[in-house]
Amino acid sequence: MTATALSKSDSLTAGQLPRWSTPATVVGSIALAVLVTLLLGPFNVGLAAVLAFVIYQVVTYCSSGLVEGPRRATDRLMTGFIIGAFLLALVPLIWVAATTLANGLGRFDLAFFNNSMRNVDGVGGGAVHAIYGTLMITGVATLISVPVGLLTAIYLSEYGRGHLARGITFFVDVMTGIPSIVAGLFAYALMTLLLGPGTVSGFSGSLALSVLMIPVVVRSTEELLRIVPNELREASYALGVPKWRTILRIVLPTAVSGIVAGVILAIARIIGETAPLMVAAGFTQSINMSFFSGPMMTLPTFVYDQYAYRGLPPEAFVDRAWTGALILILIVMALNLIGRLVAKRFAPKSGR
């Protein structure tokens, strides 16, 4: 970047936009965008927002380019894009949350938490069987996947060399490509092979979910372990700490917040799976306390079932579906919070 763009004021410090310029541009472009949208036809929030963003970017780039030079202008432009990206991501989040809340609060009552769907047709009923199933199946899947995934990631980043490591990396890549329903079929086929035809259980649901979850845990964890600075490891070795303790006390805690975030994301990824659970864990309207035998309902299958196969009156079924979805989201949110608390306890104090 050569400094060809010497403006007339010709100074690196003097040529700066006044502090009020940014808020003024924001307000101005929103007002202009709303005005233009209203002139074009019926008011459309989306159109106005896009227009306001474009106007802001153009005005900022031009004014900053004139006063501050192209480098500052590019910086401001990119700042605009980055903040814009964040705001953009909030749109679907708020939209989905609002839709779920608006539709799901109707049946968010006590009956929903202490009733199953056994002998319920039409109005009433609840999802306790599905909530219990989801907690059990996802919990066991996590108990299987996190140790295996974490240890594999540790192997890959701390020990792995040669063919085995490369093979595992390769196979983890492959595993991310398993279609979720195939994982369900695999678990179903495996249990059928071991325990006779038609065996569905909560456990085989957990197996199916583990197949999906392990690669996600390995991938995110491995990446984070690799960027733990080597100075930390070397410092630890220099103090005579054995390698396994170094990994456990130095490497893992340094990366723990990211690892926990990765695990939570992996749980969020599998807790909403529908197709594999329908195949592997089956389908029931009653609560099933036995984890190893008999079909077990989960929230996603419950939501899907209530939404897709409605009886009369249909509203009762749709309401239950949305409430189930709301509870599913709340569970993941709660897990996320718990995960963050855990991460905070383990994480070393840092300047970050």
């Binding site: 769907m117 056994r118 069987h129 219990y132 907690l135 038609g198 329908m278 939404y307 009369l312």
Partner: protein
Amino acid sequence: MFSKKLAAPLALVAASVIAFSGCAANEAAAPATSGGAASGLNGRLTGKGASSMSVAQTTWIAAFQTANPGVTINYSPDGSGAGREAFASGAVQYAGSDRALKDEEMGAGKFAVCAPDSNALNLPVYVSPIAIIYKVDGVTDLKLDADTTAKIFAGKITTWNDPAIAALNPGANLPSATITAVHRSDDSGTTENFTDYLAQAAPSVWNQKSAGIWPDAFPGEAAKGTAGVVGAVQSGNNTIGYADESQAGSLGKAQIKVGNEFFGPTAEAAAKLVDNATKVSGRSANDWALKLDRTAQGQYPIALVSYALVCEHYADSSVANLVKSYVGYIASDAGQKAAQAKAGNAPLSADMQAKLKTSIDSIK
């Protein structure tokens, strides 16, 4: 150190699991009280199959379990194909299917849950009218015939004010808007029955065989399941689709021309379809696999007929007893009426019920 730090969150999770596990207020401790059941029936029955009769099965199961507290029945609406596979492999004791078993699928010894010398029985227990649903501004009473319907869904008629539609609806205020025809994207009995109607009643337009999957040769929008089609027709404008009559909600339902009369998708008119059907030849007297005649007079021709698949002889006589009394209830007048209230199906005629009763009584 690890365990101590993890203890609190883990305890929280464990506590919530335990808290949930104890309380399903509507579930009595069924196995414990089963001894005193009035009917004396006990045991567990598992069925799998067509999602079309999911709600009806739920209704039947609820009523049957209430009357026989010692019995637990689970029906998974995994789909007809899954149901047939599971029935053949012995994973379930009965199946629901949107079509009867084909000749090559039938045969003694092919069904693991049946006695070695036993064939399967196809019992048409669930008839559900399929409505042609639409949402068109200013149109409330749409009338269609087979050719026009076929042309709309084949993409040959593309606007609502097409002369063919106008001729059937004199005086209707048809807009010039483009038609958006919505069909099922999943493999379904509803599509199979709908395309069967088009293939039988409008062969000059619909040159494809009936199939559960919409032929790619014909355009239109695809949506998943009944709920998806209803949703798409509802959220769009100038849309038309086909779906289970009971789920049509506030959408318009077209009347279909048969002979010189128009029929709406009512339960009585649809039940006639089963009465007008002929038995598939070469089956036993107790097997009621049907060949539907979509062009017969005096009926609403588009309806889904779903079968219960059971054994002639079960290998286990206690299973036979359970199936007999459960499927017997399904095919009875009480069962059919109970399902109608919740699932909106068309109850079988008294004549058909009597025929099925004879078949069900023969199950051993």
